[in-house]
């Protein structure tokens, strides 16, 4: 029993040193982040909520979105958050070339969002189908299903590309 308490106290109070050599987040990232924070504060009163939908990606795009939320990139500190419900979302972030099986689910998620709403595509697949363009089972990109406001290039795009692209998008929206 005492062990349990000791353990819990240790965990609650102590911050552990990481031996992982610090992965330097570039100055550029920090600068972009600060700008993003300002832009979000102005247009979305501090919080920009995103609902993500995978319409047939290979998974690497998701992995990079998740990386953007890790303690190093920590995109949340700039005011971007990923939410579970489309009803809470300002924007829809779509990855994948839109497989036929996901068309309906994508449309329904979009319909469930309150307006005004943005659609952002992430990764080459989502733009025009990428490597899966000529398939019998994909719709060759999100633009064939929903109106798209911005695209994040890459296969997969890095966290910094995600920040950059959202910044440019917010610069355009009023």
């Amino acid at each position: 029993m005492i062990e349990i308490f000791k353990n819990s106290i240790r965990k609650a109070l102590q911050t552990r040193p990481l031996s992982i050599k610090e992965i330097p987040v570039s100055k550029e990232y920090e600068m972009l982040g600060a700008e993003l924070k300002k832009a979000i504060k102005k247009r979305f009163s501090r919080s920009f909520h995103i609902r993500e939908v995978d319409t047939g990606s290979c998974g690497a795009c998701e992995s990079e979105i998740i990386a953007a939320t890790n303690p190093i990139y920590d995109i949340q500190r700039f005011g971007v958050d990923f939410v579970a419900s489309p009803r809470h979302a300002d924007a829809l972030l779509v990855t994948g070339p839109v497989s036929k099986n996901m068309e309906l689910a994508l449309k329904r998620t979009y319909d469930a969002m309150p307006g005004p709403k943005l659609v952002i595509t992430l990764g080459d697949c989502a733009l025009d189908g990428g490597k899966f363009k000529n398939s019998y089972y994909t719709l060759s990109g999100v633009k064939n299903v929903l109106p798209v406001s911005a695209h994040i290039h890459g296969c997969p795009p890095k966290p910094i590309d995600i920040v950059k692209a959202i910044l440019i998008l917010l610069g355009k929206t009023k």
């Binding site: 995978d54 890790n70 019998y136």
Partner: protein, 529 residues
């Protein structure tokens, strides 16, 4: 020992005398046994029992144009002889059917359903011919995309139907439906829980949402294009997939990959295993609300991704594998960076272990949750870490790959088959990976990257494999004389393992599902193709 013994033994033991058996050794580790249609099922059954091997791959090839038939190939694995054994037969084109195997070999069931939906070849007397990937709601009947004469512009319109999930009935039973769009940042799949009181009594998993028709896209691609497509089949296993693909082409074209290069490949494959294992450890922690270690784990993952980028310019090891070699160079600086990082990773792993394994309330959630029993795992054909956690001690690295003989490592397996077993397997494999990388590093000599010239193309087929972090990744590829791909059958370990989750869930409560799911962590895109 001569592999012919397998066939002699089978003949004796099972009193099986196929009328038309032709055995051919295609590659040093591949044998093809051709039999008549009538002998196909008995032969597969005998092989399955004799080799203690699940169906490793089972697929059709459309050869109607050349021979007027479909080819049917079923692959088993002989660890003793280090061979892939293919039982093959022919199916006539106008009476396309064969005797279903799945009642006797459960691990054939999903493959049969796939053969039916993709080629329209009927497995006679099969208990289940529902579609897997081409959902009934969106894909009209009678269109078989992997047939050669299928034209995506002329999809026949015919009635669509609804996918039938199994119904569980009884007093107080209710259903919880989840997906395809989930609350978190994960890929789409549909899960239907039948619940009585608290415990789940049945879980039905409906996948295929990320089906992109990968195998069809492979057809007619040139070899280099195909390498980069193989990296996008399952993004977190980009290296394992591209290695397996390159391996099959290298076998067909008889390219000898220098050992030095193979060591580098092995190092990169281990790095892929490490970043994914640590990602899962963090995922398991966060699914019980234990967010501190998960943040720690995500830092470790990031540091490996960063390391990958330093070594190969790609965080996910894309654009690295090429037929005949690798496209990155390797020098002493890189070696130094790797060694330093390995040491730090080892330290961090020890910290992470302490945090998680000494936390009583966490381990209480993980112990005896989501048990997959060995006999069930064997029947389903579950392999990789998921299988090893249930006591199936198979690993292509020790069972097949030549270069892994050069290093010492333990193949880890547990017996309990629960979440904590799968967690421990990941911890231990991570440590083994560090060991493996260190040993290979000592043997690698620096080299400059260069694009290999392909030798003269010739037609042929072969099976390439790699033990990815989820288990065996298999690519059976057939190319024509121009070097275009005629057929590419991919088996991602997820395809064989997903059902393990459905069998591990009953008896557990719905809130334990994320925990169980993460402890397996299968690929949606690799399964759906």
């Amino acid at each position: 020992m001569n592999y012919i013994k397998i066939f002699d033994d089978i003949e004796e033991k099972y009193n099986l005398k196929p009328l038309s058996l032709r055995i051919e050794e295609k590659e040093p580790d591949e044998i093809y046994a051709r039999v008549g249609a009538g002998d196909f099922k008995p032969m597969c059954l005998a092989m399955h029992k004799y080799l203690h091997s699940p169906v490793m791959s089972f697929f059709a090839v459309d050869e109607r144009k050349e021979k007027g038939v479909f080819g049917l190939l079923c692959a088993f694995q002989s660890i003793e002889f280090k061979k892939w054994v293919f039982i093959t037969t022919e199916v006539p084109k106008d009476n396309a059917e064969f005797e279903s195997l799945s009642k006797d070999i459960y691990s054939a069931a999903l493959f049969e359903r796939e053969i039916y939906e993709m080629f329209g070849i009927v497995p006679k007397n099969s208990p289940d011919t529902r579609r897997l990937k081409l959902h009934e709601e969106v894909w009209p009947q009678g269109n078989f995309p992997l047939r050669k004469d299928f034209d995506s512009k002329k999809i026949k319109d015919s009635p669509k139907s609804e996918h039938k999930l199994k119904e569980v009935e009884g007093d107080g039973v209710f259903e919880v439906a989840v997906g395809p769009v989930h609350a978190g940042l994960i890929a789409p799949g549909h899960f239907r829980f039948s619940v009585a009181g608290e415990p789940v009594i049945n879980l039905e998993i409906h996948l295929g949402f990320t089906h992109r028709g990968v195998e069809k896209i492979f057809e007619n691609l040139s070899l280099n294009e195909a390498v980069s497509l193989s990296e996008c089949v399952s993004g977190d296993s980009a290296f394992a997939h591209s290695w397996a693909f390159c391996n099959s082409i290298e076998k067909i074209l008889k390219i000898n990959v220098p050992e030095n290069i193979q060591y580098v490949r092995a190092v990169l494959l281990e790095l892929e295993r490490m970043y994914n294992h640590v990602n899962d450890i963090g995922g398991i922690a966060v699914d019980v609300g234990f967010s501190f270690p998960s943040a720690f784990a995500s830092l470790m993952k990031e540091s490996i991704l960063d390391l990958n980028e330093k070594l190969t310019e790609s965080r996910y090891l894309k654009n690295v594998n090429a037929i005949g070699g690798v496209l990155c160079d390797f020098n002493d600086d890189k070696k130094q960076v790797l060694i330093q990082n390995l040491e730090m990773l080892q330290k961090d792993l020890n910290e992470l272990k302490k945090m998680i394994l000494s936390n009583v309330s966490f381990m209480d959630r993980a112990d005896s949750t989501g048990i997959l029993r060995k006999n069930i795992a064997e029947d389903l054909g579950v392999l990789g870490p998921a299988g090893r956690a249930s006591g199936i001690d198979k690993d292509l690295r020790k069972d097949f790959h030549g270069i892994y003989d050069k290093v010492k490592f333990n193949s880890i397996h547990c017996l309990s088959g629960d979440v904590s077993a799968r967690l421990k397997i990941r911890f231990d494999e991570f440590e083994e990976s560090i060991k493996i990388v260190k040993q290979f590093l000592d043997m690698i000599k620096p080299f400059e990257s260069k694009k290999e010239q392909l030798p003269k193309i010739k037609e042929g087929y072969a099976l390439g494999c790699a033990e990815g972090w989820r288990g065996p990744v298999l690519y059976w590829v057939k190319i024509d004389a121009e070097g275009h791909i005629v057929r590419c059958k991919i088996v991602d370990p997820s395809f064989r393992n997903w059902e393990g989750l459905a069998f591990a869930m009953p008896g557990n409560i719905v809130p334990d599902f994320p925990l169980c799911n993460k402890s397996f962590d299968f690929s949606y895109s690799g399964n759906d193709l």
